[in-house]
Every structure is written in C-alpha cells, then in structure tokens.
Amino acid sequence: MSARIGASPVRVGGQARVTGAQQYVADIHLPDELHAKLITLDCARARIVAIDTSAAEQVPGVHLVMTAADLPQPVPRFGPQFEDRPVLAVGETKYHGEPVAAVAADTKDAAEEAARLVRVEYEELQGVFTIAAALDPAAPLVQDPALRPGDPLAGTNVLREHHFGWGDVDAVTASADLVVEGTYAFPMVTHFAIEPHAFIAAPDGDGIAVWSTIQHPNWLQRILAKVLDLPLARVRVFAPDPGGGFGGKQHPKLEPLVAFMALRAGRPVRLVLTLEETFQAVRRNSTEIRVRSGFRADGTLVFRDIESNYLLGAYADIADRTVTKGSYAACGPYRVPAARVVARSILSHTTPSTAFRGFGNPQPIWAVESNMDEAARALGIDPLELRLRNLARRGETIIPGDTPADGEWEQTARKAAELIGWGTPPAPGRGRGIAFGIKSGPTTGLSYSTVRLLADGSVLVYAGTSDMGQGARTVFAQIAAEELGAPLEWISVVMGDTSVVPYDQQTSASRSTVLMGNAVLAACHDIQAKLRAMAARLHGVAEAEIVVEHGVVRLPDRELPILDVLGPGLGRLGGELIGNGEMRKEAEAGHPLGGSAAFYEFNCTAVEAEVDEETGDITLVRHVSVSDVGKALNPTQVRSQDEGAAIQALGHTLMEHYIYDERGRIRNLGAIDYRIPTSMDLPLELISATVENEDGPGPYGSKGMSEGALLCVAPAVAAAVRDATGVVIRDLPLTPERVWRALQERPTR
C-alpha cells in the first residue's frame, strides 16, 4: 500500500507488535540486575515512627533496603510544576500506596519476601479524601506550608485558585431571560494502560542510564539530572514505546527512587509495578463544577459563570496545569459575551492526579454541555439548534486574546447530526443526545528532528516523540516518504534515547503530528535544499530553477531520481545528507496560559440510547463521533484514535470510578473491581467520521486529533438518557444503579 500522505500503510512497528517481538520496558533485562519492591502502608495518611530493616536485610539475595534516611538530606523533591514529591515519603505518608521504603534483591521472590519483612511503625492520621473535607477550615493540611513560602494559600489545602473571564457577568445578568444552573460531578478514574509502569536504572560510567515507560523522556532527563546533581549529558533516558500512556506516563513517578537505588547498589535495579500499584500512582482529577448560564429567549448566550473544584491528590504532578487548561476553555466553542471562571486545585490525601487524555477539559465539558442541554429544554429550543446559534464561526473569538475559531465547526456538527439522524423521531423508548467538545492544543512547544538521507536513498528519521499507540512513527515515516520518495521499508524512525535523538519538549496535547511533524517536514526540506545545491553544482543550473519533490529532482529540461543526484553529488567517499528541522511555539508574555492555542480540537458526538427501566442499564444503539482533523495523514490511525477515545470515554461515562473508604484506601483496586470497557461494552453501532478542510497548522493542513473524540461523550450520553427517560443526572458515571435510582425518583409523567 502507498506510504504517501493520506494513505494508511501498515503501522511502522506493527510487525513486532503482532509477533510478540516488541520490547517494552518490562521485557528488557540487564546483566546483574536487581529486582526492586516497594514498601507501602495500609492506610493513606500516617506518621512514620520508625522503620526496622534488619529482618529484611537478612533475606538471602537482598542487597539493598532503602529508606528516606539513605537518601541525600533533605530528601530531594521533584515534580513537573511544583517540586513537592519526595523520592520516598518523609516523616509522613500522604496517600494510600506512597512508598516509605524499597528493597532490591537478586530475585523477585527475595525482594517480595524482604519487602514483607520491613517493619514500619506508624501512627495513622486523619486524612482528607473529598473536596468538602479538604476545604473544611479545620482540615489537616496535605502539604507542608514550608514548601510554598509566602503563598497566602499555604495554610489551606487549595494549591492554586485560578480566575479567568471577560466582560462583566454581574452587569449583564439582568439582561438574561433565563438562567440555568446546576452542579455536575465527574469521578476519579484511572488510566489503566494495559502496560503497568516500569522502570530500570543502571550506573553508566560517571552517570546513569534509565529506562522508563515515560511519555516525555527529555523532561525525565531534566528532572533526574537535577535530583542526582548530574549534567544532562550524563543522564541517558531510554524510552521504549509505551504500552499505552493516555497522560499517565507523562511525568516522573518512581524513576528518581530507582536511580538512587541503582547508584547505591552499583548495579542495575528494575521496578515493574503491579496494576494495583499503577492504580495508586496515577488518576484523573475528580471535579464538582457549578455552572450558571444566562440566555436570551432566542437562545443567545448572555453569560457563563463557572466555579470548578478539582480534587488533586497528595502531590501536584501536572494536575494544576490540567485545571488551568480545562477551566480556561470551560465556556466552550461558543460566543460568550461575558464569562467568569473560578477554578481551584485542591490537594487531598489521595493518589496524585495527573494528565489524562483531555487534560482537564472533559470535566468542564461534562458540566457545561449538560447545562446546555438543560437550557435547550427550558428554552424550548432543539439542543443542536441552541448550540449552532451560539457556535463561533471561523475567525470569531471564543476566548478574548486567544486563537480565534480555526475551523468550520458547524460542518462538523451537521455531519454528526446527519449520521445520527437528528431531527427524525427515534424509535419508541430511545433517546438522542448531542454535545460539542473543544480542547485547546499546545500553548508552547519545541521539537527538533534530524533526518539523514543515506547514500543508498534510505532514510533515518530522529524524533523524540513517544509512540504509545497513536502511531507517530508511521506518520513521521509517511512525511519522509512523501518528501524524499523512499518506500516505507527504507525508512527507520529512531525514538526513545536522549543520547541519540534530539530534544523534544513532550508527547502530549495531541501535538506530535503538528509540532514534531513540522520539524520532520523542515528537516526533509533541509535535505531537499541540499539536493538542490548538489544538482545545481553537478548540472550547472541555478538552484532557483530546481525543484525537489517526492523523490525526484526536477531540472529545467529533465527529471532525475534523487539517487542520480545523491550518488554523484556525494562522490567517492559516500556519506549522507543531514537535514535538521526545528519547530517552536514560543511562550507569550502575559498570556494566562503562557501561550495561545496552537490549534483547537473540535468534536461533535451524538448518541442514540435505550434505557432498561427495570435495571437502569444503558444500551448505546448508535454512537457518532465527528472530528475536525484538518487532514487525516493516515486515515486508519485517525479512525483508531477517534474510536479509541470514544470508547475510552464510555469508561468514565458509564462505569469507572475509584471508591475510597474512610481511611483513604482505594477499595476497588485492580482489574476485578474496577471495570473498563470491554468488547462487550461497545455501542451497537460506532461511527467515526472526519471533517478535512486542510486548514490546520500541521504538515499538509493537519491538526492535532487524539483527544477530541473523548471530550463530550458523557454529556451526549446523559442527554440521550434524559431524552429517553426524562431524568436528568448530573453525576458520573451513569451506572445502572444511579440511573435506576433516578428513574425511581422520577415524578410520574
């Protein structure tokens, strides 16, 4: 099959994935390695009184029992946004599962036995596990106030309070004919990548080498260099393709600990988390969001007033950034004359929350789009029509001072409406719902790529993106194939080694096709320029008269395959052409997020649902997801991302949520009690489609697109349930029990 842009060649790396040859971190073994095991407590918050390691140290094969006392003092703290997370718990545990010590032994069995023999004397303390408990003025503080000196909020559990908005909400409130208000809850959910997190660290000359399931190898390198006090060039991070990331693997968790253990033991140390430990390492922020929206009788939006409380865990990780990005864009893709948004990042004694596909946006979208559905009913206006009346058209402002609407979003909405049969009556007992989702793309970015055209015409592409299933390798290879004419089998994409691959800021925010893709494209253009110079020299033609495209060098009088220029041009010594590309999106001073959106992901989801009134069980008869992707560089991968995101969203919509007990322990820890969508939970019909106007900032007009189809699934499903049954549910997930209870409380019609 063609490798060109717009085709769907077989995934680069696909062969290894279907034969079992793909090497994930846990599949890698180093000579002389030690196996690590964490020691944790059976409660959330506790004062550590004493740790007795003597029995553990007697276990044959044990080489190291590490506690905070064995680390540099004060114990180093790290984090992507706030340096608040200690390498091991210092004095007090802050959440269920926080490691207080770790052992390393010759075998897994010895490590597990030794871990059981580490005796921790501790005093359990009252923790805060809910928004209400954390905000209680008498609540214990999660974070030591000394960690944020001078911060007036340091004496509270509010890490940050953010204010966004424009216009004067209070002044325009009176001009609204209708005000619709509600509070909407979004549950704590976890990423549940099928690959649990895994880490290996090994002394490497004067430095260290670390293998991790990390999404951002360069960011990990920076953090390790700082906590270990090593130059960047002595910290080598290997990041094999993760077995699913979804944001949970963006930032360092246990890498610093494993690195300190390896340096102390003088041997490689590996730590492969169990799924239960992974549950205790990452989750999405839960939220309670109050929305007040004002409308004129004709449906025109007058204002939005949004107050969001996001429940973070014990350490900030990147969660506060998800709060700002989500709440900043909370008003949606609409023309909103006046807006007031308050968002709080609230610390609690729970699993540290972090990035998760959608990055803080699915929560306000759940709230605001549900509110929109309620408004439509109250106004007597069709829910799609109400949205279209307020939807920003291309070039119109959605957030003053930020990137204006950058797509034909109405086209996307109308396509979804058509595919669901909007406007035609659903079968008896069924209902339909529709919702819009928007997410701003990266606000800053920096990606470098190097492309090497080798003497035989084969190509090496270096890109620091992590291919965690989205298919970045394939897309970058397609760009090189398009520009340099090599077949896919002649292109290798090199990733995941900070000593070899140039810097990339991160793999997140659906950025890689746009930002790294542009860097790869620029590197290919650099090679094309060198080929033009070569051809000019060889053929005595002005460079300006030469065009290089699709593997062909066009001279004024003839066309030559690239190889016919490359061979003679390189000459007897051979060699290669090296192209470098750089893509920057600079920070903007004074911008509330540090930079405007590189692009928007816009999606419209429409569903038709049937509700079993006896059990509360929801059947999705049809689920339509339409995304504005600019240009699908690889339609199969675009479809996989959209459908995967849509199904993943059915998790937080219908079934997923952590259940905490009164001691802050997750009661549904692991795959038996925490259910994610299986092949039996799919909509009876799932249709994904795209709008492609080639109007994005990425290569060939592409936009980022990996999160869009997840954003507004929940409000679309809830609206369909309301349409079918008349009940309005404002809390997720829509479990059969919750739906059944709502049906019981429904006033008789």
């Binding site: 290894a16 279907v18 034969t19 079992g20 099928i194 169990t274 799924l275 996989s640 039996m680």
Partner: protein, 158 residues
Amino acid sequence: MTQLIRIEVTVNGRRRALDVAAHHTLLDVLRDDLDLTGTKECCLVGECGACTVSLDGRIVDSCLVLAVEADGGVVTTVEGLASIGRLSPLQQAFLDTGAAQCGFCIPGQLMAANDLLGRNPHPTVAEVQEGLAGNLCRCAGYQQITEAVLTVAEEADR
C-alpha cells in the same frame, strides 16, 4: 531456599525441561525462565487477558496457572503463531486492519482470537466480541480487532 520441581513442557514445538519454584506461574516461567516476553503481564488476577496462552489446546490466563500444572503440557505463545518468519493469517489481518496500536494487549488478543476461530471458524460479530471479552484493550481498538478476526473467517471460506 525455594524447592525446585522438575517439569517438562513443549513450548512452541520445542520440548523444555525446567526446574521451577512451586509457586511460580506459567507466566513467570515463560517470561523469566524462557525469555518469551511476548506474553504480557498486567493484572495477575485473570481479568485482563494480556497473558493469554494456549495450554493443551485451550486458552488459559497464564498468570492463573502454576508452572507445575503445565508439566507434560503443550504450550503455544504468541511467538509460536508465525511459522518460519511467515505471519499467520490472523497476525497479518491484525496488521492490515490496524488492530495493533500500542500493542501491549495484542499477544493475548491474538491467542484468544486464534482459539475462537479454532472452535468457531465462522463467528458472528457478537460471537467475536463475546469470545474476546476477556481481553482488555485500553487503546480500545475493539472494532479493528473484530474486523481482523472476521476478515480471517471470511478468507477461510474462499
């Protein structure tokens, strides 16, 4: 010292004699002793299907089978599906439909699908979905995986 027990198993056509700990699972032995890391470790409670292998003609969650229980048995793992560098039709179909995304669940999906087609060469969509219900995919490539299985079933007709 852990007591070791001698077992003999045929893995992907090759007879192996191994000394295993009584508490080690078939998954442990495949991954750690035989370096067959294609079989994946995730939930360890038989719920995710990532460690699915074939044992004596039926699929099992290898995390729930003690290695000693496999003594005398015949085991096929994902590494045993291709023959001499040639992908099985199912593997090829997974590639062609784009069913393999991050790929971590794919070995288990392939083993379960292989077993399903062995028992039921012409499954319906519902039968494929039910047959693979024990194999979680968080990339949620369920539609592409189902398409791949149905493609192979159709080709078998020709």
